[in-house]
């Protein structure tokens, strides 16, 4: 029959009839519309023929009557497709709801099982959340300024010593013209003394350029930021205060405006309040509380210059431009040593040691998550065995493989969601714990918190986790159990293949655990080594009280000297004090001089321009005896040491200056005085001290040290009272009273235990050790549970076999061997892989270790023994069950 619809150009390509069966909904919409219209045409033609038209005429008439059907067809198709989409959506949603409801019911029925699974996941996810918060805070976005990706820190590094030197004001002003930067910000973070209505206290201040708040994207809560004219010499002193500071001092932010704050004796008018949480990169652990305009006269000394690159400019290009500007300036200005320093432009974020420590922790905690995943997969597989019949029945009732996998996956996703929620809780608590354990060097950790980025990472982590362990177990269940015949007992190939997978998981867990254990052991040994070290002086009952003497109250050196004398006299009268002295500073908080020394008689340029640093202290003659430091040669100071320019040096400095000669009586001085200025005075060596840990327990005690004689022990900005008490006498209250009696207007000085100060210098090692040990213990516990599960499952599977063996006269030893054999094999294989992995991976730890190499055999042995011990315990419980098998019951069962 002629088909009048076909010849038209606009008709869609004809869909072959079979196509509509390909997809459930798919091609049917198009074909149906076509069919329906075709039917209409046929009927119309049939009508015309019935009225007496010839077939050809009828076709023509029908076609002309129908007219152009393009629009109608398109409209019908649109409606059809829309309906189809909606129906698919509804169907998907329904399936999802059905799956969810079923999963909830299944999980709800097995409360204990679900709780264990969720707890395992929560531990893994929580630990990762906490560590990622740390990574986020320390490495990814430490400042939280806008356009972080273009933010750079600019510093100068001395090529020889590697010591970072802050750019000077002159340089910063020259750099201001650099085209690579949108903006450059110099700043300073001085500690100031707040006086006024309450007791004086120390305050973290920041001096910034007027454009800083806009640069940092700071939120001005009340008032305004600085104007350019307020950062000029002679301008009235103004300040912007932090929100918390405003609340504490003036009860509310808005109240602070127009008030005055006295800092170091100067009254500053508050012109604005800035939201908390804004910081500048600095060594200080606490965020700044008050912000002052940076005066043109102020030098920079507290940190690098921070800048924002123009879009598309690389840090390297910026670095080249700055180097060129600096070199040009150095030609006309002798004070800028262009060649001695390397300018570095780098992205903010911790580098070096911190970075490595944090990344290492991330790696460790990721291993922990892997172990947690493996354990949940165990749990799912174990349950899969029990659910085999349920799945087989559902398959028999017509549930497709995809449908069953989807159902099982829904369950794992639900578990992962539970793990995610609980993990966030665990993460929050662990983060609090990590923050409370933070080492002094990672003070900024205080600001770490779970923000949206951490949240996103946690959720993604949970989803990936859920999919990974869920799919593993789901595919396995479907392959192994679902599509086999309904069996009455488990066993055969399905059981074996599941068993193989579980064994593989246990081996993996064991290997990862042993790596964590060895890492923990290495760090424990490091910390023990560090604490065993002799610092070179006696810290027993030794206390220090550093007193800041602000220039506003003690303008003349003689004022400070008088104070030091009074302090010494008063301290001598304190009860329970054995020895007392006053010195400029206390070990670990020493002054540092950067520069090089030159020995008398050496050619002027023979001293290598190390530009290194020397710790420096001004001490009274009794200092060395009081600290119980050992003289290698010479003697301590006497009353006239100062006039004679005598100094005492450390062995390391003496060796550096006179490698093969007796240093006593020899003279040396600072080499790099500015050109044109008079040379530095000579120092005469009267004593050489054994090396001591003056900066940190980790510095190998070879930092050069120089001691100047002082009658009062006072330094440039204060003095430190050092006392050694009789055993078990706490001097804290006495010293507090003493400082109040001496000057009630001083910021109350802290009393420090010198032993604590020293051990604080290795707190980051202790921190790493604590966390890694915690992770290792968790990991071992989780893998022990995994191993236990496998062995217990094996025992329950082979109860009949064991029964037969016992009936045939197997001894207890035979049964123990039968059961333990498997566990031991798994543990040993895991151990071997773990040891190999550790010998490869522990190199990463090298820079965190002290006194122990990354391949330290005893740490490896310790890790191995701990693991085997735990594995043995995990196997013991199922073994005991195997021994109690009653052959009669075992063989009758099933």
């Amino acid at each position: 029959m002629l088909n009048p619809l076909r010849p038209r150009d606009d008709s869609p390509p004809r869909v072959p009839p079979w196509r509509r069966y390909v997809a459930f909904w798919g091609a049917r919409v198009d074909a149906d519309v076509e069919d329906e219209l075709e039917f209409h045409l046929e009927m119309r033609i049939r009508d015309y023929v019935a009225r007496g038209l010839s077939e050809t005429d009828a076709c023509a008439a029908a076609r002309s009557r129908l007219g152009d059907l393009r629009r109608a067809r398109a409209e019908c198709l649109t409606i059809g497709h829309r309906r189809q989409r909606r129906m698919t959506r509804v169907q998907t949603m329904e399936t999802l709801i059905q799956d969810l409801r079923f999963a909830l019911r299944t999980l709800g029925r097995q409360t204990a099982w679900t709780a264990v699974a969720i707890l395992t996941l929560a531990l893994g996810i929580g630990a990762n959340t906490a560590v990622f918060s740390v990574v986020n805070d320390l490495l990814l976005d430490p400042l939280r300024y806008p356009h972080t990706d273009r933010l750079v820190l600019i510093s100068r590094r001395n090529m020889q010593s590697g010591f970072q030197v802050t750019p000077t004001r002159k340089l910063r002003d020259a750099w201001a013209n650099a085209r690579s930067f949108e903006s450059l910000q110099g700043y300073q973070t001085p500690d100031m003394t707040l006086t006024g209505s309450t007791a004086p206290r120390a305050l973290h201040a920041a001096m910034v350029e007027p454009s800083f708040f806009a640069f940092a994207g700071a939120r001005i809560v009340a008032g305004r930021a600085f104007r350019d004219d307020e950062a000029k010499t002679g301008a009235a002193p103004v300040a912007v205060v932090g929100e918390r500071f405003a609340r504490e001092q003036f009860t509310a932010g808005a109240n602070a405006l127009g008030k005055t704050v006295r800092l170091d004796g100067t009254a500053y008018t508050v012109i604005g309040v800035v939201g908390d949480g804004i910081r500048v990169p600095s060594f200080s652990t606490e965020p700044s509380e008050i912000w002052l305009p940076l005066m043109p006269s102020a030098p920079f000394f507290s940190g690098p210059v921070i800048g924002r690159l123009r879009p598309g400019v690389s840090p390297e290009a910026a670095q080249r431009e700055l180097a060129a500007i600096t070199a040009e300036l150095a030609q006309s200005d002798g004070s800028i040593k262009g060649t001695q320093f390397v300018i570095t432009v780098r992205q903010p974020g911790s580098t070096g040691q911190t970075r490595q420590s944090v990344l290492l922790l991330s790696a460790a905690v990721a291993l922990l998550l892997l172990i947690a995943c493996a354990n949940v997969a165990h749990l799912l597989l174990a349950r899969g065995a029990a659910r085999e019949r349920e799945i087989a029945i559902r398959a028999a009732l017509g549930a497709g493989r995809h449908r069953i996998i989807r159902q099982l996956l829904t369950e794992s996703m639900l578990l992962a969601a539970g793990g995610c929620l609980a993990g966030l809780g665990v993460g929050f608590l662990s983060l609090r714990l990590i923050i409370s354990l933070r080492p002094r060097q990672l003070g900024e950790l205080v600001n770490a918190h779970i923000d949206t980025r951490v949240l996103a990472v946690t959720i993604v982590m949970s989803v990936v986790t859920g999919v990974v362990f869920g799919l593993t177990a789901a595919f396995h269940s479907v392959r192994a159990g679902g599509f086999m015949i309904l069996r009455s007992s488990i066993g055969g190939t399905a059981g074996k293949s599941r068993h193989r997978l579980r064994s593989l998981l246990v081996v993996t867990e064991m290997a990862l655990s042993v790596m964590l254990l060895i890492g923990a052991a290495l760090l424990i040994r490091t910390v023990v080594n560090l604490h065993r070290m002799d610092p070179g002086f006696d810290t027993t009952n030794l206390y220090a009280m550093p007193v800041e003497l602000p220039a506003s109250r003690y303008p003349k050196p003689s004022d400070r000297e008088a104070f030091a004398v009074r302090m010494l006299e008063a301290a001598r009268r304190l009860p329970g004090v054995e020895e007392v002295t006053v010195a400029d500073n206390v070990p670990t908080r020493t002054s540092v001089m950067i520069g090089s020394w030159i020995a008398e008689g050496a050619a002027p340029n023979s001293a290598p321009d190390r530009g290194g640093f020397t710790t420096m202290n001004s001490v009274r003659p009794e200092y060395f005896g009081m600290m119980k430091m050992r003289f290698i040669a010479g003697r301590s100071f006497d009353a006239s040491s100062k006039q004679r320019g005598e100094v005492i040096v450390s062995q390391s400095l003496a060796q550096q200056l006179w490698p093969n000669a007796n240093p006593l009586g020899r003279r040396f001085r600072l080499a790099n005085a500015a050109p044109g200025s008079p040379p530095a005075p000579w120092n005469v060596v009267v004593g050489v001290l054994a090396n001591a840990s003056l900066m940190s327990l980790r510095d190998e005690r070879n930092t050069p040290a120089i001691y100047y004689p002082s009658e009062t022990g006072v330094g440039f900005s204060g003095a430190t009272l050092m006392i050694r008490t009789v055993a078990d006498h706490s001097p804290f209250a006495d010293l507090r009273r003493l400082s109040l009696a001496l000057d009630p207007n001083l910021v109350p000085p802290p009393t420090l235990r010198v032993a604590t100060l020293l051990s604080d210098t290795v707190s980051s090692q202790r921190f790493m050790m604590t966390l890694l040990t915690a992770f290792a213990v968790l990991a071992v516990c989780l893998s022990a549970i995994g191993l236990y599960g496998v062995i217990a499952f094996m025992v329950s599977q082979t109860t009949r076999e064991i029964g037969v063996r016992i009936a045939l006269g197997a001894t207890r030893a035979n049964i123990i061997r039968l059961v333990m054999q498997h566990g031991v094999v798994l543990a040993v294989v895991g151990l071997a892989i773990g040891l190999a992995g550790a010998s490869w991976g522990m190199g990463l730890l090298r820079s965190s270790l002290y006194g122990v190499g990354p391949t330290d055999p005893s740490s490896y042995a310790l890790g191995a023994i701990a693991l085997l011990l735990v594995a043995a315990i995990a196997c013991l419980i199922p073994t005991r069950r195997a021994l109690r098998v009653d052959p009669v019951i075992a063989m009758r069962g099933e």
Partner: protein
């Protein structure tokens, strides 16, 4: 295209489809023929509007469709009124009666001298 057809007022086609289907389930052509016969071919249903209207009604859940066989043993898509469709028909029927009555009153009332 037929010039003898009267343009449908908006919604009238839907109403007539529903009414037609209230007698018995039928296919698109059956609906068109029924309307044409009822009105003695005064109203000629345009296929270009009929089928989109049918599909829209189906989407709105007022009618359902299924494939069946005609008396000539030809596969065709049969439409049937749903419960929602019956309800809609009642509402629309009342509305149209009142509307048409009102229009007639205007058309047939001449002003009277007061």
């Amino acid at each position: 295209m037929t010039d003898s057809s009267i343009d449908f007022l908006k919604g009238t086609l839907d109403l007539m489809i529903l009414k037609t289907l209230s007698w018995a389930p039928t296919h698109g052509y059956g609906i068109a023929r029924w309307i044409e016969q009822c009105t003695d071919d005064t109203l000629q249903v345009e296929e270009g509007s009929l089928y989109p209207a049918l599909h829209r009604l189906e989407e709105r859940g007022l009618i359902t469709a299924e494939w069946g066989m005609t008396e000539h043993n030809r596969r065709a898509k049969f439409y049937r009124l749903t419960t929602a469709g019956k309800k809609q028909l009642r509402t629309a029927h009342q509305y149209w009666s009142r509307f048409a009555g009102a229009v007639f009153k205007v058309l047939e009332t001449a002003p009277t001298a007061v």
